[in-house]
Symmetry: C2
Subunit: 229 residues, 2 copies
């Protein structure tokens, strides 16, 4: 653990919060695998299919990395993921892409928003866990690919641009609604952010600034795609 | 290239055959990814899902390894796969698993049969390509998992055992029928096995012995699963 780490691992509440964060990442990677594999099936060309399948495969590497980290902390990945089945499954049920482009926007905008949030939480865990979170959340080459694909498609198709703009807003709305559910259910995770008597965290003003950062990044991603946030 | 290699790379016919073999492996890996990802969706438990998803992800590593080898030979993977779309797609269309166990048997028995055949062909290519083929075809941990799952399921269910035995025979029948189609269409690949004036290959007796080996291995795999070949 690095000197800068704010989180003593002998704090049970902290540990439970870190396990929750890793459980979310593990289940997130697994459901991302499934979704990307499904999107790959709908790919318009074989190179597109390979692109999505490659990113899907990487989710499994992420899953295995998180699973190993949990094991090294004496936790089992299946148990750690369990509390998050229902919010993730609900999110995916409510946001089933109706076509190839909705799938791409979901992979960029939906996952991007979630990733930003996990990175915010990761600021409050030990250095080793934090490095793992950052590693698992970087999918730069997929992003460049999606931006190119979506920009090209919406450039001369204002109707598609309108539909995908709405879609991006819906994704964030559903993500926030599931995140609220998780925050209400998982005290240990929430108190990673808000802190405890013994551990510094964010006050209300800091949480509000965090949400501003999330929204700014979201708007930036939508603009990159040529869409209105 | 090793001393034992029978294949001079300045032989155009040989090169075309080797590219065909790699094209088959690449497309085989890509379709295996898709099929395993689909099977993962139907997994009865989350650990089963992780198991299949992990093996699906490994297919993409295989695909990328084969793709890199093709590139180093000056060939493009998309072009190399092209002749094999239709036989592979037909095979998968004709052998859609109707349940979880049919999917597992297909992944073990169908892929096992194909892998044995690719290994036979690989005996006639240069050492580097051959090593890659062997590496891409080994999925020992999936096999142990499938054997355990299927054995447990058929042990007290003779009806399932009967259905899966029939299914195993059908898989091999369809695989052979598509293989014949490929052999008829792809002279370069066929002549890897049969040889040319300048390059040694198998005579009819050797080809017949090869088929005997394939059948013996198939029977062994079915027996491992507790099924009749």
């Amino acid at each position: 653990m690095s000197v800068s780490s704010p989180a003593p691992t002998d704090d049970d509440g902290y540990r439970a919060g870190a396990v929750d964060l890793l459980g979310i990442l593990a289940y997130g990677a697994l459901t991302a695998f499934e979704r990307l594999a499904e999107d790959a099936q709908a790919a318009p060309t074989l190179p597109d299919k390979v692109q999505l399948a490659t990113v899907a495969a990487r989710q499994i590497d992420h899953f295995n990395a998180v699973s190993a980290q949990l094991a090294s902390m004496g936790n089992e990945v299946m148990a750690a993921m369990h509390p998050f089945h229902s919010p993730f499954d609900a999110f995916h049920d409510y946001t089933k892409p109706r076509d190839w482009y909705e799938g791409l926007v979901k992979a960029y905008v939906g996952d991007g928003f979630a990733a930003d949030f996990y990175r915010e939480v990761a600021a409050f865990v030990d250095a080793e866990t934090r490095d793992l979170v950052y590693e698992v959340l970087s999918d730069e080459d997929l992003h460049a690919y999606i931006v190119a694909q979506v920009r090209k498609a919406v450039e001369h198709d204002p109707k598609l641009a309108g539909r995908l703009s709405l879609w991006g807003r819906r994704l964030v709305g559903e993500a926030l609604s599931q995140a609220q559910r998780v925050a209400a259910d998982r005290d240990a995770l929430t108190s990673l952010l808000t802190g405890t008597v013994d551990r510094p965290g964010m006050d209300l003003a800091a949480i509000s600034r965090m949400f501003s950062r999330l929204v700014v990044n979201h708007t930036k991603r939508m603009a990159e795609l040529g869409l209105q946030a």
